[in-house]
Every structure is written in C-alpha cells, then in structure tokens.
C-alpha cells in the first residue's frame, strides 16, 4: 500500500469530504492562503476557494461559536484551532455550548461539527504551546474525542468525524505530521469509538493513544528482546472509550500499563486505570500502572523531554509488573 504522511492523510480526508458534501467547510487561523500552521490544509483553498476555506482572525472563542451556529443551521463546519493550547480561549463555546445545546433543547439542535486541533510536546515551545488537554474534553459530556496515532487512522477517523452528526474534538499531534504510514488509496472510514490493537502480546497490556503509541511500540520492541510480550492498544477514540477491547486484552495479559502524554493527576490515565480496575479486578495481578506527564507545566528546553513518558519508564514498569 502507498505510504503518505499523517498531514497528507488528514488533508485527503478533508478534501474527500469537502468534495462530496457542499456543506463541509473549514474555518480557522491561517487555514486558507497559508495552508495551515502545520500545512494540513495546504492547497485546499485552490480547490475550494475562500468561501470554503475561511481564514479567521485571531478570535478563537467566536470562531468556535461561528462553527456552532453554522452547524445548527445545516452546515458541517471543520473548525481548526491552531494549538490545543488555545482550547481554553474558546472553552465556553467548546464546553458550555457545543456539547450542551442539543441536550438543553431537548434534542432540537444538531451540532455536526469537528473541532480540529493539535497538541503535545516535541518542539520545546514552552508551557503554552505543548499541552495535552484531552481530559478537559473527555470530562465534558456531549463531546466525542478522537486522537489518531497513524496516518491511516488520521484519515479514516477524520472522515467519520466529519460525517458524524455530533460535535467531535479531533486532536492531532504536532510530532506526527511528518510521519508516514500505509493508507489505502480507496475512500474508507474508520468508525469512532473503536480501539485498535497496535501490537499483539500476552504478558502485559499497554493502553495508550496518539503519539504515545509510538513510544509504547518502542517499549514493546525492547521488552520483546527481554522475553516479555506486550500488547499495545491504541484507543484512537477517547470518548467514548472502547473498554471491550481493553478489557479483553487485560483479561488475557492480567497486567496493564496506561501511558499518556497528558498530565497525570485527574487526567486520562486516571480514567483508563479506574475503568480497567473496575472491569478486570479479578484478572489483575497488580494495580494498573499509570505513566503520564509529570504534574508540572511543560518546560521549554531539554527538560521538556524529561517531563513526558519515556520508553525506559514503560520498559521498567513492564518488567516490574511481569517480574513478580
């Protein structure tokens, strides 16, 4: 199969969906002429014009609000926030409007809208451009939250997100845009809400998502060399979470490690660990191990790398778990 980069996979998804549905449009800072800060929408303005690739002023709150109003009235907006770090600027619209309007109006208002953004570390850009804020969204009922790790998932999940009649927060990873991977030529969607077994194994389950899938894979490789067989589960969708897949895996391995690039306290690692504990209590030989970013603002400089999970941490944890 052909290999394309994550950003190209995303671009294809947007292109295909825009082509087949006139109501799909993109709005965000620098998405048009500039082609996106991370070049995801590059060239699309030539195909679809400024009517459908709308360069927004630096007004995040109102841009998201615009998307909501457009969605209510029949369009299918893809709103881009350049960094997930800007989610807080639009947080009222994202947390108090987008996910609640349908419920508050007794199901009258439909919000078929995708909020595309990107997060994570990797550019040593400091605490205001390196965050992983998925938990804010997952904790907010009414939102779907998707975080793809591979180009194929990026494309297939984004297409599903655009077709969804519900608001989807779609969080890409800045360090993945250039990564290549096999992506089928033909149009294909990947359903929201389904995890992917990224690597099969029998001794320990590593549950993770987004870029940490790569770190987990690397750790699994290292563990294999030491005779430990790790299964890596890429959640892909965080809300809803595919606990069937996770549970089945832990039922088999009896040991679980959760890895997130987000801060540890009150973040995704807590939820995943709590659910595994609930679902696999009798299977577990030890408490689920949480490996997450340190609970400090993300530092610039080389400290950045020390703040997030490392391959070694995962390997050590797996060895300890399996060593008992």
């Amino acid at each position: 199969m052909r290999e394309i980069a994550y950003r190209e996979a995303l671009r294809e998804a947007i292109y295909e969906e825009m082509e087949q549905d006139e109501n799909v449009f993109v709005i965000g800072e620098e998405v048009g002429r500039y082609g996106g800060a991370y070049a995801v929408t590059r060239g699309l303005i030539k195909e679809f014009g400024a009517r459908r690739l709308v360069d927004a002023p630096i007004s995040e709150a109102s841009t998201v609000g615009l998307g909501i109003g457009a969605a209510i009235t029949g369009l299918r907006p893809i709103v881009e926030l350049m960094y997930v770090d800007f989610v807080p600027l639009a947080m009222d619209q994202i947390a108090t409007q987008m996910p609640k309007l349908r419920y508050m109006t007794g199901g009258q208002l439909k919000i078929p809208m995708v909020l595309r953004t990107q997060g994570g570390t990797g550019r040593s850009a400091g605490a205001q451009h390196s965050q992983s804020l998925e938990a804010y969204c997952v904790h907010t009922p009414g939102l779907r939250v998707v975080m793809p790790a591979t180009p194929a998932d990026a494309k297939g999940l984004l297409k599903s997100a655009i077709r969804s009649d519900d608001p989807v927060v779609f969080i890409e990873h800045k360090a993945l845009y250039a990564r290549k991977g096999a992506v089928p030529e033909e149009t294909c969607t990947i359903p929201l809400g389904k995890a992917r077994i990224s690597r099969s194994g029998s001794d320990v389950t590593i549950v993770t998502y987004s870029r940490m899938v790569l770190i987990a894979e690397e750790a699994a490789g290292a563990l294999e060399a030491e005779g430990i067989s790790a299964e890596v589960i890429d959640l892909r969708t965080l809300s809803p979470m595919d606990m069937d897949a996770v549970s089945a895996s832990v039922g088999k391995t009896k040991r679980a490690i959760v890895v997130t690039e987000a801060h540890k306290t009150a973040g995704m690692s807590a939820e995943i660990a709590a659910r595994i504990t609930e679902s696999n209590w009798t299977d577990l030989t030890a408490p689920v191990v949480r490996i997450a970013a340190k609970d400090v603002p993300v530092p610039a400089t080389h400290l950045e790398k020390l703040s997030i999970p490392s391959v070694d941490e995962i390997v050590d944890a797996a060895k300890t778990l399996c060593g008992e």
């Binding site: 209510i72 619209q93 009258q108």
Partner: protein, 332 residues
C-alpha cells in the same frame, strides 16, 4: 383596502399596528403569569428573568424579521420568542420543567429554543449566543438564503469580548448579522454606566465596520422602523448592523429581586413610559382602536395565558429515562 387601512405609521397598516399591540400585551401577560407561577412554586428552576418593560423591543424587532431569519436570545428572551410565534403553553411547560415543554423540560426558562421558528436557543451565558448567531449569519450567506441572523443580548453583554470578535468577523465577511442590544439599563445590580465607561455603543459598532443605530426602546414603532432599516441593510448584503434599543426592566433581575440598587424615582420615570400604554394611547388617540377593543385584547391575553399555564402545569414530568436521551444524535 379601505382608506383607513392605508393610514400607516412606520410603514405599518392598521391591522399590523393592532397586532403589534396585541403581541406586546401577550408578552406582558405571559411574563406576569409565569412570574406568578414562579412565586407559587410551579417552575422547576430557580431562575426566572422577565422582560416586562421590554415588550416594544421584542415586538418591534421581531416584526422586522422574515420567516427565513434565525435568532438567539439571552436569558431574558421570553418576549422575543413569543413575538416570533411561540406557543405559550409549551413555553410555560418548559419553564415548569414538563415533558411537553419546548425542550422537554430539560432546558428551562434560560434555554428555550425552537428551531422550527428559527430560534437557535436562549443562552444562560451572557454573550455566548453572539458568536452562535454569527454562525447563523455565516450559514445564511454560505447557503445563499436571503435571511438575517439576529442576536438579542443585554447591555451587560456589551462587555463580553466575543461581541467585538463577532462584530469584526461579521463585518469582514459582510454577513447578514444583526446585533440587537436590549439595553434595559442594568446588568443585575449594575447600571449600564457603572459597567461601561463609554455608552457610545452605536458609534463603537461603526469603528468595527458595523452599521450602528440607537432607538427609543419604549416606542414600538420607532423600534420597528429602526430594526426594519437595519435588517434590510443586512439582508441586502451590506454587512452587519447593531441596534441599541433603550428600555427598562420593570421587575428586578430575577422575579424576586426587589432592585434595591435603583431608585423609586428612576423606576417611576421609566414606568411612566410603559411601552404598552404608550402605544395603546397612540392607537386610541389616532383612532386606530377604541379603548374597549384594547381592553378586550388585554382580557383575551389574560385568558390565553391563564389557560396555557393551567394546561402546562398539569402536564407530565419527563420520564426518568429522559435523563439519558438527547446527549448525542448518534449512539456509538
């Protein structure tokens, strides 16, 4: 058309003027009735913001709207929605938290909506409806529908930054968005000049590329005239506009608020310009209606609202399962 029908004010025919009066009276009666129900403990929620005193703003602006137009309101939006044609029974039911309410009782007074009537929702977050209405305007233009999108909000929302972001975007893309400022002089206990250093809101709009106008919000025909001009302007592709309508809320912030922060003199001054009395007197003076007919309209409205409330109050509460529905359009 008789000679008399052709007599017009602000371009309105006599029947239209009478209907405008009726609309205002119906709003007043609804609000009084829902306020009483609230005091009697019939409402589900604890918050109730009445628009008594602001009827001319609601009736006048909505009169200038077309069926394809869309709108949002703030938390004090009953009047606008009634003017737009809401069913009072379903409004009462919503405020009472009943399953036949506009939102199945899940929203309450502050979240009433009816997408059929173009009502994209009342909103309990001050200012939050403004960018949503911006999106409505974006969508109308995108879909080439000749409508306008109206955002109703209070003088308090003037200080929420999203207003300026939204004005700029609407102007940048010449969207058919009308910003309707219901300036009732207070945001809770704060007088408008205690919250806003400058009251030059219409001029301010112009510096964003938004056509601005200000109007006496106690004069329904003045409101209609100003709104009609601005809506036309925006509908015809000239870009957004902003209307400041100066009115007064006759009740407190919530139904029970005794408004200790304002003087009795101030209240009396504004109440002397009660928009309903003003307009009724004008119509009577101009011979458009008789005092008797106006009283009949009042009595009809009272009956209508009493009956609607009486029906609503006996309706069923939402079933417990309703807790879980309407979160998503699709289950995954």
């Amino acid at each position: 058309m008789t000679q008399k029908d052709a007599t017009q004010s602000a371009g309105l025919s006599e029947p239209e003027r009478v209907e405008l009066l009726r609309t205002m009276i119906r709003i007043r009666e609804f609000e009084d009735m829902v306020g009483e129900s609230y005091l009697r403990g019939h409402t589900a929620g604890s918050m109730l913001h009445l628009s008594v005193g602001e009827e001319a703003v609601a009736a006048g602006i909505v009169k200038a709207m077309a069926p394809e137009d869309v709108f949002t309101t703030h938390h004090r939006g009953h009047g606008v929605f009634l003017a737009r044609g809401a069913d009072p029974m379903r409004m009462f039911a919503e405020v009472f938290g009943k399953s036949v309410g506009y939102c199945k009782g899940k929203g309450g007074s502050m979240h009433i909506a009816d997408i059929q009537l173009g009502h994209m929702g009342a909103n309990a977050i001050v200012g939050a409806n403004i960018p949503i209405s911006l999106g409505g305007g974006f969508s109308l233009k995108y879909r080439d529908v000749p409508g306008v999108s109206v955002a109703f909000f209070g003088d308090g929302a003037i200080n929420q930054g999203v207003l300026y972001e939204s004005m700029n975007m609407a102007a940048l893309w010449k969207l058919p968005v009308v910003f309707a400022v219901v300036n009732n002089q207070y945001g809770m206990g704060t007088r408008v000049d205690q919250a806003s250093a400058s009251l030059a809101f219409a001029e301010r709009a112009e510096t964003f590329g938004v056509k601005g106008a200000e109007v006496d919000g106690m004069d329904v025909e003045a409101v209609y005239g100003a709104a009609d001009a601005l809506l036309r302007y925006s509908r015809e592709g000239n870009g957004p506009s902003l209307l400041v309508a100066n009115a007064y809320r006759f009740y407190g912030h919530g139904r029970k608020d005794p408004s200790p922060y304002r003087t009795k003199e101030e209240e009396a001054k504004w109440k002397a310009r009660d928009p309903i009395a003003l307009f009724r007197d004008r119509l009577v003076t101009e011979g458009v209606i008789t005092a008797e007919r106006s009283e009949r309209i009042g009595a009809e409205a009272v009956t209508e609202m009493e009956e609607a409330a009486a029906v609503a109050v006996t309706q069923a509460d939402p079933a417990p399962e309703e807790l879980y529905t309407d979160v998503f359009a699709e289950e995954l």
